[in-house]
Amino acid sequence: MSELRELYQEIIIDHGRHPRNFGFLPEATCHQEGFNPLCGDKIILHLYENKDVVEDLKFEGSGCAISIASASLMTECLKGKSRNEIEEIFNLFHKWVTMNDVPDEFKEKLGKLEVLGGVREFPARVKCATLAWHTLKAALLGQNLKLEVVE
């Protein structure tokens, strides 16, 4: 049961049940929807950007514990970050959840987000962990289009 415990860590179950930054953001400069048509998970991201800094972000949607916790942790962690910082974290995070043998320093840089590394052993769930992140990327690229994530 250890891999499973690794995946469903307490903090994930907590964020999955009680997502932070959940809700609408009236002053948002961008709204982006992300959807996984294979499982129906859906995230709507609202973000308020000011001079390349994401000053606030919130999300709505429905999905499994992993995708909701990932969105919740992401919003917590990226609030107040600049585009450059976000890009770096995005890349770190993506490697962290998809690749084995990532250097230990990643862990430090990722902080709380580190708990999502458990999906590595569950390839079918990686797309849950990354849905919010791909949605964010689409938002920042200003595509503002319907985004489907099917890894």
Partner: protein, 402 residues
């Protein structure tokens, strides 16, 4: 019945160190050795293109191919072998009818009756006609029990109704629809009926003469047969009036750039080199079903369904979707605030394969106001022990989330 499992090589493995408990047969069924061997044997000994060669291998191949058509005819009690068409699967069969029958018989404002419990395969082809021709869809609502609202159904008919397309059994609710009644009502209004039998075929006797539907379709891969093979049954009179769906080799009589004359039934609808190995393998699956006996299969699966239903109901927080009295071995549910995917992952870790998601039935999810649900579904190889393993797995779910 436990002995069935031995016929299916997939069960000789463990998953995450646990014996495989496969509870996703509605999605696709596992294959008995005899089917796997029939395919290999065909490629090893009798393989060639059908219908075309004057040589021995081609004759054998043609013989095996057409023998399957006869067997299907016998199995579903169709009046003629040429009423049995080989397609890729249920999805293609329904698209074939929608395009080939629909495009010539329907016009703008004509109406098609579907139900709220249809699989996307029996929704999207009609929606495409909605866009292409401007037809309208009329939807039979589903009652809280998972049964169709037949009173509402009768009221959907109008002088513009041109087709009823309805599933024999629901892939989410398990409900077996009262087809005889549904078809009689449609026929009284002179409306033909297409039945999506994907969830019915290997789980109950299916008889074209008894049902009297106009089209019936199912997939071999859900009936212990190979992938890439489906059946479309159609009444001769309707098939003859239909234009071909795809053009190519073997479906023609004469070809020039100015004029094509098409071949006879069933070839008119079988363009190109068919999935011959799929057809040959399906014969073995039908043979297997015959040997096991439809009556014994139904009894076994119904017993399992009853057992699993009582067990599932006893789990706190479970909300069962579909409680019709007449069901196939399909059980869908949601559990408190725990998402179906999380349940799926935890059960998988116990070697238990169930399906989590919308099950290609988004309108039904909408109706029940849920984004997804968990489904377990039975094949003839399942046993009470599988249900017990599932119940134990649900206990793990509980542990992880509490």
């Amino acid at each position: 019945m436990q002995v069935y499992k031995k016929d299916f090589p997939i069960f000789s493995q463990t998953i995450h160190g646990k014996p495989l408990v496969y509870l996703d047969s509605s999605s696709t069924s596992q294959k008995p050795s005899c089917v796997i061997e029939a395919i290999a044997h065909y490629y090893q000994h009798n393989y060639a293109n059908v219908h075309r060669g004057v040589y021995e291998l081609s004759e054998r191949s043609t013989h095996l191919y057409e023998k399957t058509r006869k067997k299907v005819q016998w199995f579903i009690n169709a009046a003629h072998t040429h009423e049995i068409l080989f397609t890729r699967g249920t999805t293609e069969s329904i698209n074939l009818v929608a395009q080939s029958y629909g495009r010539t018989h329907f016009k703008a404002e004509d109406e098609i009756i579907l139900s709220e419990m249809e699989h996307h395969s029996n929704i999207v082809p009609w929606c495409m006609l909605q866009e292409q021709l401007g037809i309208k869809l009329k939807i039979i609502p589903v009652l809280e029990t998972g049964e169709l609202d037949l009173l509402a159904y009768e009221k959907l008919f109008s002088s513009r109704t041109k087709m009823v397309a309805i599933s024999h059994a629901s892939n989410v609710l398990g409900t077996i629809n009262p087809l005889k009644k549904i078809i009689a009502i449609a026929h009284a209004a002179k409306v033909p009926v297409l039945v999506d039998g994907a969830q019915a075929f290997p789980h109950m006797p299916v008889d074209m003469q008894l049902l009297d539907c106009d089209f019936y379709t199912f997939s071999a891969h859900k009936a212990y047969g190979p992938t890439g093979i489906g059946i479309l049954y159609g009444k001769t009179a309707l098939l003859e009036k239909m234009v071909p769906y795809q053009g190519g080799g073997s479906m023609i009589e004469k070809v020039s750039f100015k004029k094509i004359t098409y071949g006879q039934l069933p070839y008119k609808f079988e363009a190109g080199t068919p999935n011959m190995a799929g057809v040959v393998g399906f014969y073995a699956a039908l043979d297997y079903l015959e040997k096991m006996g439809m009556k014994a299969i139904v009894q076994h699966e119904q017993e399992l369904l009853a057992y699993a239903t009582s067990k599932l109901k006893a789990i706190p927080g479970v909300r069962l979707l579909g409680t019709a009295p007449d069901k196939v071995g399909v059980l869908s549910f949601v559990l408190n605030d725990i998402h179906p995917h999380d349940i799926g992952t935890i059960l998988d870790h116990e070697g238990i394969a169930i399906r989590a998601g919308h099950h290609c039935a988004m309108p039904l999810m909408e109706k029940y106001q849920i984004p997804a649900c968990v489904r377990l579904s039975f094949g003839l190889y399942n046993s009470r022990e599988d249900v017990d393993a599932f119940v134990a797995g649900m206990q793990k779910v509980h542990e992880v989330f509490n």
